[in-house]
Symmetry: C2
Subunit: 237 residues, 2 copies
């Protein structure tokens, strides 16, 4: 696997700036992952205090996005990076947008968990929701890990795993529709579960986007809108 080496510039300062951008992006990823883990814990354990903490903590994700974005723009303007340095900066600009939206979805899950905890409803579909949530959290973790190691083959595997998340989400939706039809009193509650599942499924899509940016960064190839097979071929080149 080809590696992108950071730290080959005569200007030590420039090396540090690029490394700093990447480190801060990964730190933002770590914060977003924690927000998601906390939102899922709040949902599963009915922990309203933790849910409130996720909701009020979203501003930190937003602040990191704005600050990393500014740093990227400063580097573009002052250092005029080329080749893989430029790809790093552009990939980070795109990645933090998706990370910020993952943060929004985690906040949404936390909000739903507050409503669900208050409703005292049937908890049967929660195990499916918990499984979906665990899969999505793992996917986000693997994505950040692949980014840290610049591992494009891992990125393809993660994109492939997103298909399973979509299937899990579809199965959960059908389960919830059956609940609603059997007992219309469950409708409001089942819709809240459905929105939570939808938020998790969207996080899977964002993680896949980030994997695509990683392949672009390392390989210089835009693999959006291509099949998994083409993506895999590019990642291995």
């Amino acid at each position: 696997m080809e590696k992108v080496h950071i730290g080959h510039h005569i200007s030590q300062q420039f090396n540090e700036e690029l490394e700093d951008i990447r480190t801060r992006m990964l730190a933002m990823g770590g914060l977003v992952e924690q927000q998601l883990a906390d939102a899922l814990k709040a949902l599963t354990e009915g922990d309203t205090e933790l849910a409130e903490r996720v909701i009020t903590g979203d501003y930190r994700v937003n602040a990191m996005e704005v600050s990393i974005d500014e740093e990227c723009n400063r580097v573009l303007a002052r250092r005029q990076p080329a080749a893989s340095d430029l790809r790093l900066v552009v990939a980070v600009i795109k990645t933090i947008t998706d990370l910020e939206r993952i943060g929004d979805q985690a906040e949404r899950v936390a909000r739903m968990s507050l409503r669900l905890t208050r409703s005292n409803a049937d908890r049967r579909p929660y195990s499916s929701l918990r499984n979906l949530g665990e899969r999505v959290r793992q996917q986000l973790h693997d994505t950040l890990d692949a980014y840290a190691r610049m591992d494009t083959e891992a990125a393809v595997q993660i994109a492939r795993a997103d298909l399973q998340i979509d299937r899990d989400y579809d199965a959960l939706s059908r389960e919830l529709i059956t609940f609603m039809m059997e007992d219309p009193r469950t409708i409001t509650w089942a819709l809240d579960v459905m929105w939570s599942a939808r938020a998790l499924e969207r996080i899977g899509d964002h993680a896949r986007n980030i994997c695509e940016y990683l392949i672009y960064l390392v390989k210089g190839k835009d693999v959006r809108h291509v099949s998994l097979e083409q993506m895999e071929a590019e990642a291995r080149k």
Copy 2:
């Protein structure tokens, strides 16, 4: 209102490249707007052929995104733009991502319209859905128009109008929940209407993002995650 002037470079070629990026981004916006208008027409008139055309046409939106993105990267690498030129390129890179996702949502509405046309269900909530769709289409149109004119005050008005879209969406959701509760046989159908409404509401959010990029481009200020009042103050500066 301050204007960003394109075409002040000694290199005529560079002027043309910047103008070309902007023109192509607006053309992509025009295509996405047409996709949305067609999806809404297909939904309202039960025109399955038109819906199919929107679905198969989404690849054109994707292709434009990839091609404009490549052009932006080429300009960043070769021209090393600074100041407002750099902001233009970065704003376009972000804008086309949102435009592409609006295209995906339009495709989603088209898919839902196929299912809804086949279901022969109660058409009462369609007038609310049509109103929401028309409002969102107008919002997207106004956004592209503001971009073409570099009009930041219009951008703030559009961001403000997004609040009304959210309210319309909430009202429609409540209407649909009532339907489902009164007659559980409508659940599958009502969920399809709800997903369509959700897709439209998301388009409103993307249009708002684009307005924020426009203010960044013209004013150099990042107005994401700030209140409408702060956004307005920045747009008027």
